[in-house]
Symmetry: C2
Subunit: 249 residues, 2 copies
DNA sequence: TATACTTAACATGTATACAACATACTACTT
DNA sequence: AAGTAGTATGTTGTATACATGTTAAGTATA
């Protein structure tokens, strides 16, 4: 009676990546712009302007904005609109603290599940990052550094984990934009290759230790001096005045 | 000249929790309904019906639906609408795998930062859960079990971590709804008190081991037999026919 | 009678219109 | 002249209308 229905049900696939929905495209463009620091923390993101830029209505923009807000890449204040998130020092510490815990804990599974293809892709990523660094393409380098951590986490074949780490890596880019000194990114390029060597050799413990040190190193390079939380940075304003001017009399 | 501006800037707080926006309310109601299994995996969630139920327009519902989709509590299929998510066996394993890694890794920080207030609230949560269990309030018990893990994670004072664990706890409720046998929830009520004792005594290692065992225990109680991924469960349909009916002739 | 095709009903995707809110500017009062 | 109040402008929040796509039912034909 309903035998044909059975065969009919399995055939409903493949029409998924045909027209990669516009939302995704806009989301990707905006998050990439934030990660690459083409948009700076604090920058306003008016819906009208974005709608015009992407040639869609505000509806589509709001959807993307809300998603970015959930991922803490933008901040939405009620009735006051969206702006690129400006993580507080505490938030910055939390992000790196979370990364230390999670990325280290994942190294076992990463080592256990690493395939030839994974390794090849990761080594390519390191090469790209190194080249970007060499050519002075800071923006590309930052993006590739985050991409490396995200891609590495995917080796563990645990989607919730790699998605979480991916988000933390994106947020880290924002943290570096606010508190990063120039050497925040400078050092870890060559480094990324090292952990691959350790993982290829099956040295789980050393890989975990390496990752902890790597993240600590980045975190230590952050400069939290001018408190951008709560009150504006009058301190740095007055400091600058004393530095630049000759005397005060 | 601009001295007054300085004092004026710090006063922009407190007007935040006044009218807890409707979105949040709807989000809370829906996620709670999903976690408490008043909505079952696979249930359709038509925008019109929800809009009428909450007395808002579809706009507000879509916002909530999209957020729930991002958190993997509902599934949105293009042009086909939203439904309560039905995690696959692989997804279920990933969720519990992630929880094992993350919640165990967090125990150190939990032990280090536990305060009197934390402990009091957590013990109260255990009491509530125990009572719900005793009174046969399964739904409440499930919700409280998830709440315990979420509240416990907050002790570590790392927002990204506790948010992630909170989401995983919610997803776990869905997993249990699909694959849980009756004793999936039965055992872990009294258990939750044990880890508090260990943490209060400062036994970090034992607490971590306990947590690993706890989550493994829940995961082992899941039943993945009837594959609800890909093809519908014809197997169980035919099995049922053989069980319920007398003969097949 | 079963299958395929057409059509109708329904649900979602998107844009637009309108209302509410915040901010900035201007005018008026002290 | 300075500060406050009122107004005007612009931006966000929400609902509704319209277009598009999917599902299901019904009919006609083989």
């Amino acid at each position: 009676m309903s035998r044909d229905n059975i065969t009919a049900m399995g055939n409903r696939r493949k029409g998924k990546s045909r027209d990669t929905r516009r939302d995704e495209e806009i989301y990707r463009a905006m998050s990439e712009a934030i990660v690459e620091h083409r948009l700076s923390p604090g920058d306003r993101l008016p819906e009208d302007a974005l709608a015009e830029a992407f040639d869609v209505s505000r509806t589509g923009i709001r959807k993307v904005l809300q998603r970015l807000a959930l991922e803490r890449l933008v901040t939405i204040q009620a009735n006051r609109g969206a702006s690129v998130a400006r993580p507080s020092p505490g938030e910055a510490r939390d992000v790196f603290g979370a990364r230390r815990m999670v990325e280290c804990a994942l190294m076992d599974a990463v080592a256990d599940n690493m395939t030839e293809e994974d390794l090849a892709e990761l080594r390519q990523l390191v090469r790209d990052e190194r080249q970007a660094q060499a050519e002075g393409e800071q923006r590309q380098a930052i993006q590739l550094s985050a991409a490396f951590h995200t891609r590495l986490s995917r080796v563990a074949r645990n989607e919730p984990m790699s998605e979480f780490i991916g988000q933390l890596a994106l947020r880290s880019s924002l943290v570096i934009a606010v508190y990063g000194s120039t050497d925040s990114i400078g050092c870890d390029c060559g480094d990324h290759g090292e952990v691959l060597d350790l993982l290829e050799a099956g040295e789980k413990d050393k890989a975990r230790t390496w990752m902890a040190g790597h993240l600590e190193h980045i975190e230590r390079s952050l400069r939290f001096e001018s408190g951008s939380e709560g009150t504006p940075d009058f301190k740095s304003i007055f400091q600058r005045r004393a530095q630049s001017g000759a005397g005060d009399g």
